[in-house]
């Protein structure tokens, strides 16, 4: 897009990605960690769309569609894992899952 400089769009995407990264690092609740991973994936897709809009090509949007697909698959498996983990340990604290003995 000509009217919005690509730098500003990429800065926004970088800020969103950094916020998601901080969320993953700071929060200990696995549900919030999954939410933060969604934020990071969304920011990466935003960067793709911005770059695609810069050169007026469809490839950026195609890449965003693939990121969307991957996010959907990842969330379904991740939430099923969280439910199963909660069923086993009765907590969502990520530090409580340090014993991978099944």
């Amino acid at each position: 897009m000509a009217s919005v400089p690509i730098d500003h769009g990429l800065i926004i995407a970088g800020i969103l990605f950094a916020l998601g990264l901080v969320g993953v690092l700071v929060r200990r609740n696995v549900l919030f960690m999954l939410l933060s991973i969604e934020i990071m994936l969304n920011a990466a897709g935003l960067a793709f769309v911005i770059a695609g809009a810069r050169w007026a090509q469809a490839d950026g949007q195609v890449m965003f569609l693939f990121i969307l697909t991957m996010a959907a698959a990842e969330v379904s498996v991740g939430l099923a894992l969280i439910l199963q983990i909660y069923h086993h340990t009765k907590t969502l604290d990520a530090d409580a899952f340090d014993e991978m003995r099944g």
Partner: protein, 171 residues
Amino acid sequence: MNVVFYIAAAVAVTATLLVITRTNAVHALLYLIVSLLSVALVFYTLGAPFVAALEVIVYAGAIMVLFLFAIMILNLGQEASEQERRWLQPAIWRGPAILATVLAIELVYLLVAAGGRLPSTGAVEPRQVGIALFGPYLLAVELASMLLLAGLVGAYHLGRRVKPQAQGGET
């Protein structure tokens, strides 16, 4: 068009900042939905209407509903009604409502003042995206469908309730 982009980006950053600082999962989810909606508006101002629609439908719709279901399933029964009463207080939904109102004003502005037209230069139509998707990226589309199938099977397998005595080494 520039002002709309910057306001939507500011709303996105604010809402995301509030997502990672909330202690209640449902509150964080509300802010995340607002953040995704504002990112959809950013997509629209960048000339990507197809992706903006998909962001609202798939991300803010389907994936967030998945999260909501998981939170509801995880929610424990005895304190649920008392928690529900606290959630209905205005202080809870005031923040997301304000941010969503900003987005709604921007949307109305886009529809009325700008006539609903896309930014003329550099807009990528859904038609071009579809042609690219089923032309050079056809193999990737097939791989994505297999990924979704794997996700479906994996979620079904993991989501089963395992009997306490029947659980083997597979889980």
